[in-house]
Symmetry: C2
Subunit: 364 residues, 2 copies
């Protein structure tokens, strides 16, 4: 009888972070594509754009004007998903085990949302920025994390978890090309993060070890999924990746949040972010779209929340075959389970082999 | 102090099917949109298309030709995500609690994938089909479910769960406009479905009742989320909907799978599918994209799997404001938790008020 071939035979892989399975069908990458084509990013973008509401000095949608900032710039989102003040929501449970008590669970949620401009230059992206400027972005995140932690304690603001993220490219719902990310601060730990904490906790009880600490060790032994590495971080395609070129940046030793970063770690993270996104751009010679974000300890964490936290970032890029052909996670994925068309090892191999020089800048 | 206003204040709602939370920010629907625009469906599509590999009599990618079918037509997917035969995957656990044992979980997965053409006419969609023809689609699903159940028993085929679904529109990764759906049959129950079964089981233990049975009763009392209703089914926007106009079609009384449907139930489901998709098309006067699918009992289910199953369908449509502006579930949604910009009740209200006549057919 034949041997099972992971590069050709269908299999399911388990994601210990989310406690769920994904379907890998590596032979499927061969099928022809007749569906929707993405529009690659525009080729000439000016350094300053009059109509951009993020460029220095420009007016914003709601009236105010941006300062003439020269590095990073943080402001409160004009269309925030959560707000600091709103009426309290009384608990709805009647205590009588009614149908409503059983099935309708709801919480009010306050917080605040911020936009973080990475650079005054309208036409830059992370892979085109210098490591020293990405260092400033990380410092800005750190500052925000610390400020909000302080406000939560000193001003009793409803801030529990800060979700820092970036949507890059129109394919990822980004409505403005100016290099920027967001940070949404909520009074609750969001689902995805709280699921990870549940998994960290379960793992620690079972093995008396950190899930991501063990995972880093395993990947450093196996090496087949590592894309990049420096003193402080690994960049890898996780064994259970869903998106074709999904990656994680994981701290090699335990660090609960950016608040705990040393200067060296900030520098090393800046360098990994630059190198990874350069590879992404080189992969299909396009300004590679993705959503990415940081997972770390809640603000003012203590006890298990602090002890179990392990800083990492997720990058979720949608492209599958070229600048114009993306993976759709649709029918089977939404109703059944996520499905991918190449293995994590194949994706890591392709990313690893790519050059570290940014190849297509001349088109921008 | 002011009262909490569900149509304006941010809140989180709990999804008892998936055991997770979603963030509702109803005031956010007001923000301007400057991002990606979808391309609405083409306006003149012929009834027969020479280059379509699903039209009757045409050649398929892999060589063979379709019969000159006159109603529905089922064939094996030429690029199946799972196959009936592949080498067995030996269990990987060393029994020594190594890092690999702790973190790498994998299963081989066999099965089969089918394409189901809903009609010989290339230019029809479900809202444009007649109820009697949709009845035939349901009969075809039923037949497939029964055939595969039989093959699993009699021929020991690796068939455990049949996921029937449709991706409609280029926005949902559909690469061919010819009206068709798919059915992927796996030897494992996929993540989403097994999570629902977990929830059904938990609910039954806690309340000695069916989760969806109770939910149907609750919705029939409250009525604010019901869009359509007939003798056998409710169409509703679930309390915990993620996509802007997400709906469920739920059986009003317990029926584990389409295999158990009476003729009356088939007729009633056909009618609900037609009426719902007509409303969808009318909402933004476009051929409304969505992914939809059936959730039901595994093949040859017995015991809890049979007793807990409750037939329902999920519709996941991406559009938010118009034929060209969709909701992106990206950065915060992927890293934090799903977020929506209008309440389930607002969405239900808009769908309910729409006319039952198909308004834009003249454009097709
Ligand atoms: O099988 P199709 O229609 O070519 O492909 C589509 O549906 C599949 C099942 O949801 C997805 O895995 C694909 O990403 C999508 O493009
Ligand atoms: O806030 P933006 O960039 O306008 O909006 C984008 O990111 C948000 C957070 O992931 C999403 O909720 C929106 O659907 C998306 O379009």
């Amino acid at each position: 009888s034949q041997e099972f071939d992971f590069t050709d035979n269908s299999h399911r892989r388990y994601n210990p972070l989310t406690d769920s399975w994904i379907l890998v069908s590596p032979h499927r990458a061969k099928r022809p594509w007749l569906g929707q084509q993405e529009t690659p990013a525009k080729s000439t973008i000016p350094e300053y754009e009059e109509k951009c509401f993020l460029c220095p000095g420009n007016k914003r949608v709601t009236g105010g004007a941006n300062p003439k900032y020269e590095s990073t710039y943080v402001f409160q989102n004009d269309f925030a998903a959560v707000k600091i003040d709103q009426p309290a929501l009384e608990v709805q449970d009647s205590g009588k085990d009614t149908l409503k008590d059983r099935l309708i669970k709801v919480q009010g949620v306050r917080g605040n949302c911020f936009v973080i401009c990475f650079s005054p230059k309208h036409n830059l992206t992370i892979p085109q920025m210098q490591v020293k400027d990405l260092y400033k972005v990380i410092s800005t995140w750190q500052q925000l994390y610390n400020d909000l932690s302080k406000q939560a304690v000193e001003e009793k603001k409803p801030f529990k978890y800060l979700q820092i993220f970036e949507n890059k490219g129109t394919a990822m719902g980004c409505s403005n090309l100016h290099p920027h990310g967001q940070a949404w601060c909520l009074e609750a730990v969001p689902s995805e993060v709280s699921q990870e904490f549940k998994s960290f906790d379960k793992y620690k009880h079972a093995h008396n070890a950190d899930l991501l600490g063990d995972y880093v060790k395993l990947e450093m032994e196996e090496r087949s999924r590592i894309v990049l590495e420096n003193d402080s971080f690994l960049v890898l395609v996780p064994y259970w990746a869903v998106w074709p070129f999904e990656t994680m940046i994981v701290a090699k030793t335990k660090v609960p949040s950016i608040a705990h970063f040393t200067d060296k770690q900030k520098d090393d993270l800046a360098s990994m972010m630059k190198q990874l996104t350069v590879k992404y751009d080189n992969l299909f010679e396009t300004s590679f779209p993705y959503s990415m974000g940081l997972h770390q300890a809640p603000l003012n964490a203590t006890g298990d929340e602090l002890n179990n936290a392990w800083f990492h970032m997720h990058f979720y890029p949608p492209l599958l075959r070229s600048a114009t052909v993306r993976k759709f996670l649709v029918g089977f994925e939404m109703l059944g389970e996520p499905q991918r068309d190449l293995t994590a090892e194949q994706a890591a191999d392709r990313l690893r082999k790519l050059d570290g020089d940014h190849h297509y800048t001349e088109n921008l």
